[in-house]
């Protein structure tokens, strides 16, 4: 074969080889690119999901946290989380928007966004004191009613509490019972007689004192139309319970516990160990809790009639009945009612979620978009 022919042959071989290799490489690159793109999208999704979980954890520790995260390094990518207060399906919520980014600022950048709506706890406007009632109140024994703010564990937080007792009618402080609270930023330790700044009697509730548990939490305007709390209790969300016989309750209480007694019914001598919202109510507003003897309840207690508190309630108590049938003595032993904004926020912030303690994988999450 002449040299020229050989050269031509070689050139042809090189050209053909290059074309074939290019074809193969292109297909391989496409396949690799698909796989890589899928992986990066999944990683961005994982980063976004992690951002929501991190924000939920922050909110669990501090319900007023709204700082978020900006371009945080997570899993080899970037994370940005923002929080805003909003409403979701009529309920007060915190909208958490989490964006995960991989290959940031490069042509192959992938982004994914997850959004969660966490129920925003609130202190109902009906909670005007550690004990809020619509009937004459009598305190005896060594009952302590302290409207100063406390942590959910019962530790005192100075300067941000509320009244000790607020009632539309009268207050009789007897025995060695003590009442205290916070007024205009000044704390008043429980004392007998109570400092006048820590009690309010003969009060008038504009529009009428709330007569149902849902109206205590604000009614329809705040996402609690009549029947909501009962429905939540019946659903069993987050440990919620609905009973007509309190002996069937399981302890510790959690979520929304709704005890609906027959007319004139009384729940006697109970252990109150638990958290959340405890409701003892019926349509006649004459369901009574008598001799709250043991266990510490942390949260919001809403009852038609409460008689003889001998244990510890951290949060607040709202009584509904204007005419308690079994007397007005709210405590004659060694009980304590310690106001706690934290306990009330925890109780109201964790309700309204679906199965498993959350419409999402966290308690108090109303919905999760991923």
């Amino acid at each position: 074969m002449s040299g020229r022919a050989l050269l031509i042959t070689l050139a042809g071989i090189i050209t053909l080889s290059a074309t074939v290799f290019l074809n193969v490489t292109s297909s391989s690159s496409d396949i690799s690119s698909n796989a890589d793109g899928y992986f990066m999208r999944q990683t961005a999704q994982n980063i976004a999901q992690s951002g929501v979980n991190m924000a939920l954890r922050q909110l669990a520790d501090n319900r007023i946290w709204r700082t978020g995260f900006t371009m945080l390094d997570v899993f080899g990518g970037k994370l940005t989380v923002t929080l805003i207060d909003t409403f979701f399906t009529g309920k007060a919520a915190v909208k958490i928007t989490s964006t995960g980014i991989t290959n940031y600022n490069r042509p192959e950048e992938k982004r994914a966004t997850s959004i969660a709506f966490a129920q925003r706890g609130s202190i109902p406007p009906t909670v005007k004191a550690a004990i809020t009632t619509n009937n004459p109140v009598k305190t005896l024994g060594t009952l302590i009613v302290d409207g100063r703010d406390h942590t959910a564990a019962g530790s005192l937080i100075g300067g941000q509490g509320t009244l000790g007792i607020w009632t539309t009618q009268t207050l009789s402080q007897s025995g060695s019972s003590k009442i205290g609270g916070t007024y205009e930023g000044t704390d008043y330790a429980p004392s007998k007689p109570a400092n006048p700044n820590t009690i309010a009697t003969g009060q008038v509730w504009p529009g009428g004192y709330p007569g149902t548990p849902d109206s205590v939490l604000g009614g329809s305007s705040l996402g609690f139309p009549e029947g909501t709390l009962k429905a939540i209790a019946q659903s069993g969300i987050g440990g919620s319970q609905y009973v007509t016989n309190p002996s069937l309750l399981t302890f510790p209480l959690q979520g929304v516990t709704y005890v609906e007694l027959p007319s004139g019914g009384t729940w006697q001598s109970m252990n109150l160990d638990g958290t959340g919202i405890l409701i003892v109510h019926n349509n006649w507003k004459n369901a009574a809790m008598k001799n709250l003897n043991s266990g510490t309840f942390t949260g919001l207690l809403i009852a038609d009639d409460v008689i003889h508190i001998h244990t510890i309630i951290i949060g607040a108590l709202v009584a509904l009945s204007p005419n308690p049938s079994q007397g007005n003595c709210i405590g004659n032993g060694s009980g304590q009612v310690l106001y706690s904004g934290d306990a009330i926020l925890n109780a109201t912030g964790g309700i309204g979620s679906s199965a498993g303690g959350g419409n999402g994988s966290a308690s108090g999450v109303l919905a999760w978009w991923e």
Binding site: S17, S27, N359, G360, S361
Partner: protein, 182 residues
Amino acid sequence: MHGMIDYLGSLIISGMVFLVLMGFYLTMGETAATQTFNSGIQEDLTSTTEILEYDLRKIGYRVSDSVKVTFAGPDKIVFRTDIDNNGSVDSIQFSMVTAMGPSGGSNPYVVNRTVNGVTAKLTRMRVTNLNFTYYNAQGAVTSVLKDIISVKVSLAMENTVAYDGNFPKAYWERVIKPQNLR
């Protein structure tokens, strides 16, 4: 004489080189064709699974009652979610159905996505298997709709065009745990 030997030697060697090159090109050509078909089926699989995952992750979003999956079959799932986040709950269905038109390959099926009664074909290539398995909170297989916490999806596809008598295939499997079911 010497010239003859040289010519014969060149002929033999060039022949061998030619055969090697031909074999090489045939192999590379087959590889290129296979890669092209694989790339095509992979693209179809990726786009189909992206839609499947996107929708399944949102099962139960904005659905207030306890039944968010309304039908749980081995090759069909129907669930409720507000897929376009406009405040109204939609009904979405994924199912494997018989493909219309000319058939070929081992199984003439496609995956359909139906949103509020409007159906669209998801796959360009041929689907050989779409399977849903449903699990409860304990990780056990369940058929009770209200107990479903997670869904395992497996999807197998093959190219509609065969190469050398074989249809290139691809397979994908994933367990999806929608946040709104937990």
